[in-house]
Amino acid sequence: MIEIKNLVKKFDSFTAVNNLNLTVDSGEIFGFLGPNGAGKTTTVKMIAGIMFPTLGEIIVDGINVSKNPYEAKKKIAYIPDEPFVYPNLTAREFLRLIADIYEIDRKQADKSIEEYLSKFELLDRADKLLGSFSHGMKQKVMVAGVLMRNPKVILFDEPTVGLDPKSVKNFKEMIVSQTKKGVSVFMCTHILEMAEKICGRVGIIYEGKMVSCGPVEEILRVKNKNSLEDAFLEFTK
């Protein structure tokens, strides 16, 4: 579960996130939408504990991220929009590093690594350097790294950029299966169609403020539109 209370982030005089309040329940997929520069990535980074709020607080599974980042990070899995990884580690070495950092039992980790690499069709590249991987392949390795560690909260920033159609389908299925285990998924995306299909609720952020939040049907009803795209354009005019 994620609880965001009165969250503010300022960069000098510029307010990137302005008094954001939000709760994402266990087992829920929340879609976070907004135009470029609206404050989506800043919000996700603050939840992940790699950026610090100017005001307000974020509580993940009962732990305050600012006050106890070490414990909070054990429960969070974050994938940024750009899949920056260690180019001089192989895919297997990278996933083992992640497994060790998150204290996953080694036998279990080795089994999961094989399983996910196979699922993402990367088993034959397991011992190749990540620097030689394409954008989509790196993204798959990062998704594998998230799924193998059983987090309580998953944060995605544009998760399907660079993934092939088959992997996008696999990804969606896996996300849904994670929510069945009670995982909260917070997903920033520009792909409104995906948000419409898999998100229980969506929030639209514009110039740092949440301008709309709720189930897709409710958002469409407010603006009297038939598609999320039209409603989104109306809210961010």
């Binding site: 070490y70 297997r92 070495e93 350097l129």
Partner: protein, 555 residues
């Protein structure tokens, strides 16, 4: 001509980077400019002293000066050529804008020519800048007017371009026949080995003997050596002849100038023509990924992590640090250069013209400062940069449940052990060759161990205080404001350390010269304790500041 359109973007970028500098950035630029100017002034003063000394030698003073000038040009030519081998492969095949340029309606030779200009600039500007104070010193010593500098400027352009074009041509043909990303790695190693070789070979040639005619047995042989051309077939000699002819008032200097420009034009034409046929194949091959395969088995650090569970994260990070370091080819080239540096350092110490054992022991003590300087340069290169080199991947550690202290400790252990080994080599071998007495031997080894450890801690701490995760290459981190502060602080710390230890060393020498003098051991212990504690406290303070800063990074 599209080459000129491409060239315009460089000028615009340069103009924008200067015009956009304001506030603190502008102040930093001015500081760097002043430091650069003071370095150039220092070089000028040193060159004037050397040249005036040579000029004062009767009968052969002028010959000596031109011989030295020819050697300087030959060395510069070799260094530019070697640098261009390494730089050309990067600029021609791995520049960030190549995908944009190659997908634009531009002829391959236009893109190639644009990248050649980058190569010539990057491989030659530092050496050419260092040559300016030498030329001014030459003008001052030999009373030459500004026309001399104009001729030098005109001749140095084809000189630098020719040296760089050797590397460019080599890269072009090698990438054509071996179009693979591995070729770049091979070039890095070959380039580094060549620099190391030239550096060591130049030192072993004992150039100081040029200043001591008495060391050559037969004077006639010496004069012949001085008057012989220095590599007559290379442009460095043509540049020398241009300048000597002009200085002697002979118009033949124009012919030498023509030779430089003529040869460069022909070479340029041949390389650009070849590029139209060869460049694109190499460019395509350069985009092949690495074929490196890692082992599926766990490393020794990962096995240790399983045994020592209380330090699991530390060992995992150590494993990551080791693998990412040794798989980066640029680090190997630095290691090769450090090995050459140690060799030249020890060789120079061994050949110091010292006669008395006391003087040798005294030099061993001062050697702590020199070795400390080398260690601080190594710490700047490897420890200071280690945080910034996490680069865009730093989010992985930052978003993980890892204590920042563990990241610091893994880096410290990984880099500190070999750096202490290096400092032991520099001081231990110097002490051995100079025959230092037991007291000096012990105190210098103790001091260099403490100094090295402190510099390693300071390197990581300063690197954490002044990080830059967005740099394109390691040299930008080294030459940053933080790097400059680290070096300045390190120099101050080393000077203070040597000053603190100078007291007991002075007492030691006094008791050797005068048996009646009483060596008071309490002062030795006070100095050592003070030195140890201020090093420890300094490390602690900066370690804490660095940790505090790193925990507050927003990426």
């Amino acid at each position: 001509m599209k080459v000129f359109i491409l060239f315009r973007r460089k000028i615009l970028s340069l103009y924008n980077s200067f015009s956009s500098a304001s506030g603190w950035k502008a102040v930093k630029n001015i500081i760097f400019l002043l430091v650069g100017l003071s370095l150039i002034s220092g070089l000028y003063i040193s060159f004037v002293r050397v040249l005036k000394y040579l000029h004062s030698v009767e009968l052969i003073g002028e010959i000596l000066i031109w011989k030295l000038t020819a050697m300087v040009f030959l060395m510069s030519f070799s260094m530019i050529m070697i640098s261009s081998v390494v730089i050309a492969i990067n600029t021609l095949y791995y520049s960030f804008d190549l995908k944009f340029l190659a997908s634009s309606p531009l002829k391959p030779q236009d893109i190639f020519a644009d990248k050649c200009a980058d190569t010539v600039f990057y491989s030659s500007w530092t050496l050419m800048a260092a040559m300016i104070p030498y030329v001014f010193a030459l003008m001052k010593t030999m009373n030459l007017g500004f026309g001399f500098f104009a001729v030098f400027t005109a001749a140095s352009l084809p000189f630098a371009a020719l040296a760089s074009f050797f590397g460019i041509a080599l890269s072009l043909f090698t990438m054509y026949f071996f179009p693979s990303s591995k070729t770049r790695d091979v070039f890095w190693i070959i380039g580094s080995l060549s620099v190391a070789f030239v550096y060591a070979a130049f030192r072993m040639a004992k150039p100081e003997y040029l200043l001591r005619p008495d060391t050559l047995e037969i004077v006639a042989k010496y004069i012949n050596f001085l008057q012989a051309p220095t590599a007559a077939y290379l442009p460095s000699w043509w540049l020398t002849k241009t300048l000597t002819s002009y200085a002697a008032g002979k118009t033949v200097f124009i012919l030498w100038l023509f030779l430089l420009y003529g040869f460069f034009s022909a070479f340029y034409y041949a390389v650009i023509k070849s590029a139209s046929a060869f460049y694109l194949k190499g460019l395509s091959g350069a985009q092949n990924g690495s074929s490196f395969s890692g082992s599926p088995y766990r490393s020794w650090e990962e096995k240790a992590a399983e045994k020592f569970k209380f330090k699991k994260i530390f060992f995992c990070l150590l494993s990551k640090e080791r693998k990412t370091f040794f798989r980066e080819i640029k680090h190997w080239s630095q290691i090769i250069l450090i090995i050459a540096l140690v060799f030249v350092y020890v060789f120079s110490v061994k050949n110091l013209p010292l006669d008395s054992p006391d003087m040798k022991s005294f030099i061993c003590f001062l050697n702590i400062g020199a070795a400390g300087f080398v260690v601080s340069a190594v710490a700047l290169r490897f420890l200071f940069t280690s945080i910034s080199l996490e680069g865009n991947s730093f989010w992985i550690l930052k978003s993980s449940p890892i204590k920042t202290e563990d990241i610091f400790y893994a880096k410290l252990l990984f880099y500190c052990v070999p750096t202490i080994f290096l400092s032991f080599l520099l001081t231990g071998l110097s002490n051995y060759f100079l025959g230092a007495d037991r007291f000096i031997f012990s105190i210098s080894l103790f001091a260099i161990t403490v100094i090295t450890f402190t510099l390693c801690v300071l390197g990581i701490s300063f690197g954490a205080i002044y990080p830059d995760f967005k740099v394109e290459n390691i040299h930008q981190v080294e030459s940053s404001y933080g790097g400059f502060l680290f070096m300045a602080f390190s120099m101050g710390y080393i000077a203070l350390s040597v000053a603190v230890l100078a007291g007991p060393v002075q007492m030691h020498f006094m008791s050797r010269f005068n048996p009646a003098y009483i060596f008071e051991k309490k002062w030795l212990w006070i100095s050592l304790t003070f030195f140890f504690f201020f090093s420890f406290i300094l490390s602690q303070i900066f370690w804490k500041i660095g940790l505090n800063k790193a925990e507050k990074y927003e990426i």
